[in-house]
Each structure stands twice: as C-alpha cells, then as structure tokens.
C-alpha cells in the first residue's frame, strides 16, 4: 500500500485550470521531487496535499485513509515553507514546540500566563520540552533555542523550520522550495543535509522545487509537472535518459537538450539533409522532433562525415567546454558538450563537423509524446531526403 496517493486532482482558479487531473503515488519512505517551471501548479498541488486548499475534483489518500475532507491540522502532515514561516515572536524552541503544544495541550492550557497554572500538565510540558531538545540536538541547533528568528541566519532558520516539521513525527513531509532562499554554496550543503535527514527519519517526502538539478540529485523518484499535468514520474535516471514527453526532456539537463525539427517518412527519420539510422513504427509522413543531449554531440573526425556547422560561441567551464554551433543546412543551434581536450583548437566562427550518437537520439511526436525509435544503422551520409 502506498503511503500517499493522489487521484485525479483537478483545480481551477477563476476559470484557469491549474491542475488537470494529477495522479501520484508515494511509496513508504520515498523521497519524491515535484519539479516544474513556475506556474505549473506544483505549489498548488502541495497545498492541496497539505489541506490548505481544496481540489475541485479528486481524492487524497494518506496511509490508506481518505483525507480529502479532513482539515490540515488533522492530517498529520508537516510542511516546510519557502520562507520558513517561523513565528517571529517566538524563540526557536517555542517555534519547534508549537505543533506539539497544539496537539497535546488544550486551549486553556495554552493561555499565556494563566495557562501554566492549570493543573495536570507538568508532565506534558516536560515531555514537550524533551522532544524539542532532542530534535534540536539532532539538527545541531540546540544552542539557538532561545533566539528569535530575527536573530538567526538563513541556514539556521531553515533548520528550525525543519525541526518544527519533524518534531511530531508526521506521516508525510511536504517541502515547498525550502532552499530557494539560501545562497548557492549553502544550498548545495543543505541539499545533502535534507537527504540525510530523510534517510534517518524514513518519512515519505514530497519536495517541490523549480531547480531540476536539485530534483535529480535528491530524489528517489522525480515527478515532472508542466502546465498542470504530471508528465512523468520516474527515477532521476529514467527521467534523464528516457523522458516520456518533450517538455520533460527540455526541462531536465544542463545545458538544455538540443531539439530540432525532423521528418519521419516510411518509418525512417531524416533530419535536414541527413537520414538518421532511426526507425519509428508509424509509416506515414509526419513531422517529428529530434532531441539529443549535448554530451552526445561530438566533433566528427575528418574521416567521418558529420553535420556541417559553424561555431557561434564557446563557453569554457573548467572541466568541460560548451560549443554553440549553428547548423549550415537548417540554421538550428546545436549545443555540444566536450572535454577541453576534444575542444582544443576550436574557436568562434570556425566551421566544424558534428556527429550525433543516433542511438541516444530521442524522437517526439508533434503532440510531445515520445515515440520509441529503434536503430537501423548509423547513416549520416549527406544524402538528400526524398521529396
């Protein structure tokens, strides 16, 4: 049984469809990254999951129970917000204690001064203090417990937010871009910490981010959402190598994947002047898109014949070199990722010859769906295509 299940979640705001029937399963202990460009609906989905918003249609099942109609406070879900949403008037310790106090103490017991005079709660308060202390120690913020959020750095606040989320051992963790307010080095470090925390806690986590690198590096499985649709849910490797939709391919990978228009005729894909050794099931003549990752675009030897192009721009990044080349035949830009050795002697404006690893080429139909293409043979001769 999956730990968390979303079925057909649909949501519109004033006529705009934000979520169009999203379904998703999270297995126990799994870390799922929900990734997509801004406006794709991922934050809305998270809020619906948390109970802060209600879907127009669809259901939410957590731990086997239907939670669709249950209020956020009762779903036993914890959430870390983008801006951490720490209560500014409470110390770190008090912040972390809030979810425990809300659940274990009654309204009267929580009154500012008189509350602590109500009998029968000393044990509860001690237990709360103990839990807060332990959680703080495990996140190494126990020395900050008496400080208010305004007196802490971004990284410290983030840990307090994490502590507050984890302290009551929820059944699901939700994280809404918790690292986007940190500066770059801290972000990379914090990624590791969150993954480590997840491993220790073993709680199923849905992690929203717009940063594909973050998603790929942290998650067990990645859910790519674009335009309100969940396009693919798979492991990072599969998302990268085997995208189900052209938008998924475009969203993931740095530098971006090369996409160029191609033609499938009688099952053979031709690209510009070149007939690729790729065969698709459909026999009719249809325009398709060819996509290939920059690392699979290389400079052809003089011996091989490649695609003629001119180098527009070179970016030197230390361990690799990115070449932006404009194909002579069809004017599309191809990006090639090379090692410095391979790129030696290349300069801007130079004519080059590009070779594509055809077996790594991805073919997409007009509507964006992936078409399975099988190799015929590598055939990059400069034959003119028929017709």
């Amino acid at each position: 049984m999956s730990a968390l299940s979303l079925r057909g979640i649909t949501k519109s705001f004033s006529g705009n469809a934000i979520l169009k029937g999203v379904s998703l399963d999270v297995e126990p202990g799994e870390f799922i990254a929900l990734v997509g460009p801004s406006g794709c609906g991922k934050s809305t989905l998270l809020r619906i999951l948390a109970g802060l918003d209600h879907a127009d249609e669809g259901e939410i099942v957590i731990g086997g129970e239907d939670m669709s109609a249950i209020a956020a406070a009762d779903r036993n879900i914890a959430m870390v917000f983008q801006s951490y949403a720490l209560y500014p008037h409470l110390t770190a310790g008090q912040n972390i204690a809030v979810p425990l106090a809300m659940r274990r103490l009654s309204g009267t017991q929580r009154l500012p001064f008189i509350g602590s005079l109500v009998p029968g709660q000393r044990a509860t308060r001690a237990a709360i203090a103990r839990d807060v202390g332990e959680m703080a120690k495990s996140l190494r913020i126990d020395h900050l417990l008496d400080r208010k959020p305004g007196q802490m750095s971004g990284g410290q606040r983030q840990r307090v937010a994490l502590a507050r989320a984890m302290v009551r051992q929820p059944s699901v963790f939700l994280m809404d871009e918790p690292l986007s307010n940190l500066d770059a080095n801290l972000r990379v470090h914090a990624r590791g910490e969150i993954v480590e925390l997840h491993r220790r806690a073993g709680v199923p986590t849905v992690y929203v981010t717009h940063d594909q690198a973050e998603a790929l590096s942290m998650a067990d499985r990645v859910a790519v959402m674009i335009g309100g649709n969940l396009l693919q849910l798979a492991s990072p490797q599969v998302i990268y190598d085997d995208p189900a939709h052209i938008e998924v391919a475009r969203f993931v990978g740095q530098p971006r994947i090369n996409v160029a228009p191609a033609l499938a005729e009688n099952g053979i894909v031709s690209f510009g002047d070149v007939r690729l050794g790729l065969k698709v099931p459909d026999a009719s003549r249809t325009p398709v898109s060819l996509a290939i990752r920059p690392e699979f675009v290389r400079l052809a030897d003089k011996a091989q014949n490649g695609l003629a192009a001119h180098v527009e721009r070179i970016e030197f990044l230390g361990s690799e070199v990115t070449l932006y080349c404009k194909l002579d035949a069809i004017g599309e830009i191809m990006i090639a990722k090379l090692t410095p050795a391979e790129a030696a002697g290349v300069s801007a404006g130079m004519p080059v010859s590009l070779s594509l690893s055809s077996d790594k080429a991805l073919i997409f139909a007009e509507d964006g769906r992936r078409i399975q293409a099988g190799p015929v043979s590598i055939d990059a001769t400069l034959e003119k295509a028929h017709g």
Binding site: R47, A73, D74, F81, A85, H89, V98, P99, R103, G150
Partner: protein, 309 residues
C-alpha cells in the same frame, strides 16, 4: 597674480573637510525655516505656558505678578477642575478601549470577507471624515429626549429613554457613544493595514501545525503580529480621547452642572472666556504633562515587547 592662482587650482580639489562644511551649511539652511518656526510656535509658547502658570496673568488686566505654585495649589482644591479630570478619565476609559476593540473587530471581519470590502471600509470610516461639529449636531437630534429617534425606538419596546444629553447621569455616556462612533473607523483602517502586513504563510504554517479554529490562529499568529499596530492604535486612541473638546463645546458646554466638563473645555473657559490666562496656563501644564506621560509610558513599557524584527 591672485586670479591666475585661483584658476589654476582644479575645482575637484576641494577638500573633504570643506565639502563636509558646505554640506552642513546647506543642511542648516534647509532646516532653518523649520527650526525658526518650531522655536516660535512650539518651544516658546510651551515655555510661556509654563511661565504663565506661575503667574496670575489675566488678559486685559495689565499688570501681573509671579505667584509661584499658588495656581497649582488652587487647582488641587478646585472642584470643577477635579471633576474635569475625572470626567476626562471616564470618557477616555470608555471610548479608547471600546473603539479599539470595535476597530479591531470590524477590521477582522472585513479582512476575512472578500466581497464589498471597500463598501464597508467607507461606511465605517465616514464618521472620521465628517465634520465633527456637524455630526455632533446630528447626534443631538438623535439623542433628543422627545423627538429623537433613539428614545422613540426605545419607547417602541417600552423602555423610557433617558434625557441623554441633559441629565448628568447619562451625558458622559452619550458623549462617549459619539466618541466611539467617530473613532472606530480610524482604528479600523490602522488595524486593516496591520492585518494585511501579516505574511499569509504564517497562517498556513499555523494550520499545518494544528491550529484548527479561527480563534487558535488568531492567538498564534494575528494577535502577536499585530503588536506594533495595536500599540500605535492604543496610543493614538487614548491621546485623542483625552483631547475631547468639540462635542462638549457644541452640545453640552460642560453641563449639566459640570457633568460633562472635560480638561480642554475647562482650559478654554478659564483662558478664553474668563480670560484668567495664568490659571488656565497652569491647567494647560497639567494637561500637557498628562499627554507626555501617557505617551512615554506606552512607548517605553510596551515598545520593546512588541517589535520582533
């Protein structure tokens, strides 16, 4: 030659010190009109009031002499003045808390409502923007014991309405009602500003943390975050209540029998009607002292507890 020498020195060589001096000079010039006016219209008069409070100056009576603390001694025994102090305190004690609570209540209601917000805001703020003297006159009609609608309404349910503005038992309450009516809108707007400044995410966090009811969220997020606003509203409300004058002057003239005599009215009577400027000045000093004390008390005692960032 001197001229050549001056031309030969590039302008950019003006030293840092010279630049600072010229900046200071300019600043002085810019601030001078304000300084002069503050001196003449605020500082000097305050000093004069304090000084006059120690004299028996009466306008139109030529000579006057220094009488030390005699005026103040007289004040302590002046029943009318003590009544004025008491009345002003009662008035403030009613109007300030009620208008603050109502202002907050209306602001909360409007904030959580999505339609017709600006309609309600306008309606509740209208009294603030209306001429006090004019609206006091309208209230006089409303409060009229025989032809006024309030008593007519009460008569419908069999309650004999009191003589609101002419009976010493009810006059302060009537004035308080008008005072509350006039101030709620102002407080409401201030609270609305404070409420909209609360980050929405805090409410989401509160919900997820287990604050199920509106009351729980109010206690955890709204009330603490409104701290600075509440302090400001409280200060303004109290000070404005202490300065009540227009309604008294227009409707009751301090009566009946000093029942609605308030501080400013007493000062006005003594100083501008009876022209006993010296005595009125000592009253003014007391009035000013009360204002200053109230302001300092609130800001020093509460300010630290209320600002978080």
């Amino acid at each position: 030659m001197a001229n050549l020498a001056i031309d030969a020195v590039p302008r950019a060589r003006k030293t840092a010190a010279a630049h600072e001096r010229s900046e200071a000079r300019t600043a002085w010039l810019l601030a001078l009109p304000a300084i002069v006016l503050i001196f003449f219209f605020i500082l000097l008069p305050v000093v004069a009031v304090v000084f006059l409070g120690f004299t028996n100056f009466e306008l139109g009576m030529g000579k006057f002499r220094f009488v030390g603390f005699e005026n103040y001694a007289h004040l302590i025994n002046d029943r009318a003045f003590r009544k004025a102090l008491w009345n002003t305190t009662c008035y403030t004690a009613i109007v300030a808390p009620v208008s603050i609570v109502l202002g907050l209540g209306v602001a909360l209601l409007i904030e959580s409502e999505t339609t017709a917000r600006s309609f309600f805001r306008t309606v509740y703020f209208l009294p603030v923007a209306s001429l006090i003297v004019a609206m006091a006159t309208v209230w006089q009609y409303l409060f009229h014991p025989t032809i006024g609608p309030i008593n007519s309404l009460l008569a419908l349910v069999g309650i004999p309405g009191p003589n609101w503005l002419a009976a010493s038992g009810t006059v302060l309450y009537s004035l308080s009602i008008i005072g509350v009516w006039q101030s709620v809108g102002f407080n409401m707007v201030l609270f609305l500003a404070g409420l909209t400044a609360i980050p929405r995410e805090l409410y989401a966090a509160a919900e997820v943390d287990g604050a199920r009811s509106s009351l729980a969220r109010f206690r955890l997020v709204t009330w603490p975050m409104l701290g600075p606003t509440t302090l400001f509203v409280t200060t303004i409300s109290i000070i404005n209540s202490v300065k009540v004058f227009e309604t008294v002057q227009t409707l009751t003239q301090g009566g009946p029998n000093h029942a609605s005599e308030v501080l400013l009215f007493s000062i006005y009577q003594e100083g501008f009607i009876y022209l006993r400027v010296g005595y009125a000045s000592s009253m003014t000093v007391v009035f000013l002292a009360i204002l200053v004390m109230l302001t300092f008390l609130q800001y020093n005692v509460l300010d630290r507890r209320v600002h978080y960032s």
